[in-house]
């Protein structure tokens, strides 16, 4: 029993971390997971693509708006200006909130 409780806590701590942090917004959870194929699982990247886990929400939202408007461009935006145009302001807010909570 002791062992399985330890395992339970470990599982709850790893697999369930995001789920227990707030009532799950499963739509945002998928939208955030969508980013993982480039930015890494949970936004934690390996290699040259920047990590987005733990970014300040206001910073995240402003960057997305700057990608969309073209204020952030050239070498500072090879791909993201093309993705940012496909999302709404509300979705930027939700994604910013989501990634800000990942440590």
């Amino acid at each position: 029993m002791k062992k399985s409780l330890v395992v339970s806590l470990l599982l709850a701590g790893t697999l369930g971390a995001v789920a227990t942090a707030h009532a799950v917004d499963s739509r945002t959870r998928f939208m955030a997971a969508n980013c993982g194929y480039c930015h890494g699982t949970d936004g934690k990247s390996r290699g040259a693509i920047p990590s987005i886990a733990g970014l300040d929400k206001a910073y995240f939202v402003q960057q997305m708006k700057d990608f969309r408007s073209g204020a952030r461009s050239g070498a500072a935006s090879t791909v993201m200006h093309q993705h940012a145009t496909g999302y709404t302001d509300e979705e930027f807010e939700k994604l910013g909130e989501w990634f800000s909570k990942i440590k």
């Binding site: 599982l11 499963s26 980013c35 194929y37 480039c38 200006h81 496909g86």
Partner: protein, 433 residues
């Protein structure tokens, strides 16, 4: 952290209970009921991702993952092996972490699917019951549609469109054995096919190798399409810049409307409607359709329900439009997504998200938004991409590409670094590396 299956079951129930105590009422409905059983067939970019994310999002679901191969070999980046930039081991990964993430990982070949009884049978003699069945089988290559492309011919002529030592590895060895001044004949299947920019990237990668090692050689591209089917401007620019395209010293001879109809491995000839091409190394990718397992499940049907090459799905869950509780991922699907690794990875997550909602008595997202980003290498140090956001349109029941997507302004070294990072991240995201 080693624990056996019984501990894991107890642990999962414990985790669900703790989740409830911590205020996560959402997980409550399945507690106390039998655990929902999901069988995923195929541990590629779609199936592996689906299985892994389903367990992350609801550990209470019992996930069985059945895969025919004991190692994962990545199709993305396999063209860099042809260039000599990477080795087979750089694109080959173990399933060890994925095995730990799911309840049952079975290396076996699926031979039968009974959608009325909801069970899957394997060559190894096992049967698996399911509540939900997810098919991530990729593609089936139709060798019989190219005359002479029989088992004997397949020993000499490689498609390398499913990466592996006996395909990508052998094709690389054939290129290394080719004399300087030799001809490499390769084909592009008629769209839609797996990895739209892949053949043109392959031409770049083989040309990179030949330019250094065998500069008097030539690549003949026999394209079944009437024009370059993906990233045309960027590939033409790369061919001109790096490989002399458009000059009499061009390494690349591009021939549109030239679908291979026959191969002759003894004479080393490829026949199209217009040409008979003699080559030292032949690389023909035959026509393709959704994986065999999709045929076994009766889901290889178009929007109208008639038998077709690909599987019509509901974009909100990736459930077949025609067979209940059967879901199809990635390259096997009939969608307006490109058949890319990134899309397969994402369809795995969308399907996992939907199944998690449904088994917990909730409705899946009715307006999903999803992206594709697809990098192609153009030389040893440059790459470019195409990026698109798709948003579900309830009226048309389709995914609409949003305005503002598109390709790179030009190839760059920065995008080559991003392409390498993408590969590391998508492999890790898919396999739990």
């Amino acid at each position: 952290m080693a624990f056996d299956r019984r501990d894991f079951l107890k642990a999962s129930a414990g985790a669900a209970a703790l989740g409830t105590l911590a205020g996560c009422a959402a997980q409550a409905p399945t507690v106390g009921k039998a655990r929902p059983k999901v069988v995923v067939v195929g541990a590629g970019f779609g199936g592996a991702t689906c299985a892994r994310y389903m367990k992350m999002w609801d550990p209470n679901i019992e996930v069985t993952l059945i895969e025919a191969n004991d190692m994962f070999v990545s199709c993305p980046f396999s063209n860099t092996v042809l260039a000599g930039m990477n080795k087979m081991e750089d694109i080959t990964f173990s399933y060890d972490n994925l095995k730990k993430a799911v309840d049952n990982f079975v290396v076996d070949y699926v031979t039968g699917i009974d959608t009325a009884k909801r069970s899957v049978a394997t060559r190894g003699g096992k049967t698996f019951a399911y509540d939900h069945l997810v098919l991530g089988g990729g593609i089936e290559l139709l060798f019989d549609q190219v005359q002479g492309y029989d088992a004997e011919a397949q020993k000499v002529i490689k498609h390398a469109w499913k990466a592996g030592a006996d395909q990508t590895g052998v094709l690389r060895a054939q290129l290394e054995a080719m004399p300087d001044g030799g001809v490499f004949a390769m084909s592009v299947p008629k769209a839609p096919y797996r990895c739209p920019p892949g053949p043109y990237e392959r031409a770049c990668m083989v040309a990179t190798y030949l330019k250094k090692a065998k500069p008097r050689s030539k690549i003949i591209i026999l394209d079944g399409n009437e024009d370059i089917a993906s990233k045309k401007g960027l590939f033409l620019a790369a061919w001109k810049k790096h490989y002399g395209y458009g000059t009499d010293k061009s390494l690349i001879d591009y021939r549109p409307n030239n679908m291979p109809r026959s191969v002759d491995p003894k004479k080393m000839m490829v026949g199209t409607e217009f040409d008979d091409v003699k080559a030292d190394v032949i690389n023909v990718v035959p026509p393709m359709r959704a994986a065999k397992i999709c045929g076994l499940a009766g889901v290889r049907r178009g929007l109208d329900g008639k038998e077709g090459p690909w599987c019509a799905i509901d974009y909100r869950s990736f459930e077949s439009l025609h067979v209940k509780n059967v879901y199809v991922l990635g390259d096997s699907t009939l969608t307006n997504f490109p058949k890319s690794g990134s899309v397969a990875n994402n369809t795995g997550k969308m399907c996992a998200a939907a199944i998690v909602e449904m088994v917990n008595g909730r409705e899946p997202d009715q307006a999903p938004v999803v992206t594709n980003t697809c990098y192609s290498a153009t030389s040893e140090g440059t790459a470019m991409h195409v990026a698109t956001v798709f948003r579900y349109d309830p009226a048309g029941k389709s995914m609409v590409a949003q305005k503002g997507g598109g390709v790179s302004a030009e190839e760059s070294e920065l995008e080559f670094a991003y392409m390498e990072s993408w590969a590391q991240n998508v492999w890790a995201d898919t396999l739990g590396l």
